[in-house]
Symmetry: C2
Amino acid sequence: MADKIFRVNMSDLTTRIEDVPGVWAGLGGRGLTSNVIAAEVEPTCHPLGKNNKLVIAPGLLSGTPAANSGRLSCGAKSPLTGTIKEANAGGSSAQMLAKLGVKALIVEGMPAEDKWYSLHVTADGVTINEETELIGKGNYDVIEKINARYGDKTGVISIGPAGEMKMAAANLSVKDPGSRIRSSGRGGLGAVMGSKKIKYIAVAPTDNKVDIAKPEEFKAANRAFAKALVDNPISQALGQYGTNVLVNIINEAGALPTRNFTSGQFAGHEEISGETMHDTIVAREGKPKHNCHSGCVINCSQIYNDPGKNYKTSGFEYESIWAMGADCCVDNLDLIAEADHIMDDLGLDTIETSVAFGVAMEGGLLNFGDGEGICRILREDIGKGTPLGRIIGGGAGNVGRAFGVTRVPVVKNQAIPAYDPRAIKGIGITYATSTQGADHTMGYTIATNILGVGGKLDPLSHEGQVELSRNLQIATAAIDSTGMCLFIAFAALDDATCLPSLIDMINARFGIALTADDVTNLGMSILKTERAFNMAAGFTSHDDRLPEFFKEEPIAPHNVVWDLDDKTIDSFWNF
Amino acid sequence: MADKIFRVNMSDLTTRIEDVPGVWAGLGGRGLTSNVIAAEVEPTCHPLGKNNKLVIAPGLLSGTPAANSGRLSCGAKSPLTGTIKEANAGGSSAQMLAKLGVKALIVEGMPAEDKWYSLHVTADGVTINEETELIGKGNYDVIEKINARYGDKTGVISIGPAGEMKMAAANLSVKDPGSRIRSSGRGGLGAVMGSKKIKYIAVAPTDNKVDIAKPEEFKAANRAFAKALVDNPISQALGQYGTNVLVNIINEAGALPTRNFTSGQFAGHEEISGETMHDTIVAREGKPKHNCHSGCVINCSQIYNDPGKNYKTSGFEYESIWAMGADCCVDNLDLIAEADHIMDDLGLDTIETSVAFGVAMEGGLLNFGDGEGICRILREDIGKGTPLGRIIGGGAGNVGRAFGVTRVPVVKNQAIPAYDPRAIKGIGITYATSTQGADHTMGYTIATNILGVGGKLDPLSHEGQVELSRNLQIATAAIDSTGMCLFIAFAALDDATCLPSLIDMINARFGIALTADDVTNLGMSILKTERAFNMAAGFTSHDDRLPEFFKEEPIAPHNVVWDLDDKTIDSFWNF
């Protein structure tokens, strides 16, 4: 079954299936979403207008039995940053779309009438249906109702009320096999889907299989690949404690941004740590290990129950916990879980929204530490779209503007996540230069700066940080195109069998002969395509900068400022 | 008496008097504020942080008997646009500062403590006083209290609650001789003064006189200059109907942006016109003619009374009346006057705020035409700093982001004023290319495009618009440096005696020998200095663009879109 482009025009409510142009044939995931946007979206268009497009693409290996290949890439011009944007998530839709033969789903235009719609994707194409019942509903409710309509196995990509209200912190939610929620979190893609008046995309289950040109080679490579993943000690730690294993590690490193980025350590770190979370989950009969898509061998997700042993949240990530925990000084995991649940339900990026609360706390809206206050405002204000809700739902930069706060941790208007760039210089380069605004996943130097993966590099030194970030950003762009979870990177950096096996799988899937250089070239080409889009949208190297306060306010305990100069930052693009 | 720089450091609460560096000796008004900012302010600094500076400068002729020379320039990096900013206003302070020997007042730094202050400027220097009583008070109250403290003749430059709350639409208010309010309206300079925790600047009255090198030549030139102003038919129309004479003219031209820029004509134009306003003022025993500073011979201001014949507002300008009138569809002059009074009292740019209401109306906050709703939100929300108030006080672009509205008439995030660029192409060039965001006063092509002053140029043609805007922007930059009101431009464009007389006055004042070319070169140099600051702050030609919707939505009655291409726009800077 040949892969096709499934195209939906919301202006005239038509859909069609197109052959894949030759130039896109070798692309998947982020490589495809970014190339489609670069080719078809006017860089200066309004992100919430009819000229923006929402592009959804499984990775090159999605739908195959390859371990950890279930990530779904979603792209558009971002209403938060104004840059090109790709955010990916697990869940079941990537594999299902791949099996349906969907190379990419491109949603364009905008309805003239003020009506809501849903899309139903099957192997025969896309059907557009008017939607009324689910409008205003949260993602948990949406998933339950769609399960009832189409069956439990249906894939769901949906927006909550935040996306309907076109808030810049609105994300896309992707249903996982257990009908829980994974999120394409960053950059306001939920607002783009909301602007196109689409409440959800349902993906039909199928018995189709993805074509594999050389099945035996594929199987052998996958075996070696999965072994590399399973054997890796970081994979194992992620399976035991989840990503939240990082709270104590980053706090120890003095790089856990606390109280709106005014300290690098949080007194309440033990209360919100991965270890505490693990013990709590076990005591409450949750699941410390849980996979967000079938085929994952790392299982960094978990099911976190409330004290009454009822489900509260899953995919409870370090960065979300950090943001409401250390950054807002809330040392209560149950309150953070409650907020996480509400944000998933409303369809909000937990990083952007919680960092926005940190800025609002500095602006005097709430006291630091007031987790109940955050939950109340999430429910009563953001959920109902009050003016306060719209300010916070607009993200951290927006809150800074509203309250006249100058300590606003954003790059290209996107909130800086859980690693302070003053104390970990490499990640500062990633924040500054990423084509997508501040985003740790774009070039996760924490691996080498802190975890000693792929070598060691002193987080406080200036030397080698640009090269580290560049190499990781290139590799990440390539990995994000395969449908692979980024957590394969730990094994890829430390186990010589891992990357060759991954390339072998791609070659076996398509009957081609990529080399490691080809993969690197793919990554470089994606970054350059994204950068060119941004330049055409008006961005320059002046936008590749951290906020002023990082250069002026030393952070404890290292008492260091951000001190890499502009020329060094700009040398990132010398490739 | 030699002119000096009066410098105030709010970080350590010190003040000092400095000699004027040679490079600034020939500068005044905007030429000086922009050059000080370019020299002393880091272009990438946060506009509300300690590294921004507020610069206040009278013009080269301020304080002399020259007709219409009482404008005060205020400059900073703008929190609304992120560009360099100069906004000027009448009132009595320019003349008083000049007579005190203040070439420029430079306010830098920011207090560490959360306390408010005032500045008192005398010939001996500046005194910083802590202020408590007037915090939270409106400008009318502030002026009354300062009159009681220091006497009626004291000059006042103050901020209202909007500036205290650092709203991006906050302006600076300048007291006029009748203790009414003139405004340095655009770009959020009130927020900059608020960030420095200064509630007001009091300027001591003085019997000093400004030195004039050649008094007889000066007197003769001023006579010729004043005659040119008084004889000019547009000056006369401005004296009779105020700037609001333009409502009917621009409506007739099909360029009166209506209902958030969706039409070029307003059905209720007669109700808000200059003619109706004039008759209403006369019937209510207000003043149809009123000067905002002594020495003005045009008298475009007025005193507008309420139906009970009590004072309601003054300086009731076309652009303010248009913004709440046509753009928000409020066809009731008394409601607009009420809103104007409240905005003056709160210290809000009437253009930015009212255009923001137009966008909010499109976003569903109020119905178009709901003038009572606007007054209520001004009082209850903006005045009290509720979240809704902070959204609207953040300006039109901010409202667009909050409510997900895509039809947002801003350039460089500053609201487009009262002349639709689709129907008057020349002003579109000014909006696009101005160093300060959309601002009609930066290059008022309406003079030639509509009023037939300085020749005629079809507003709908493409030809010559760039040259027209360029010539006017250069001339305006020079005029803004003299302390002259921009309304001298009508006489300057049509009366051959006007400009030479102005140059003669400058020469007689300083004992120099400027030529017309020198004045043109000054204007060009100011524009280039401002542009260089913006480029260093990260702006590019991509920012010299009108919003997307102007290119896509034709406006009635001409049914034209904005169709000047990017290359044509960029050719503006070819000088």
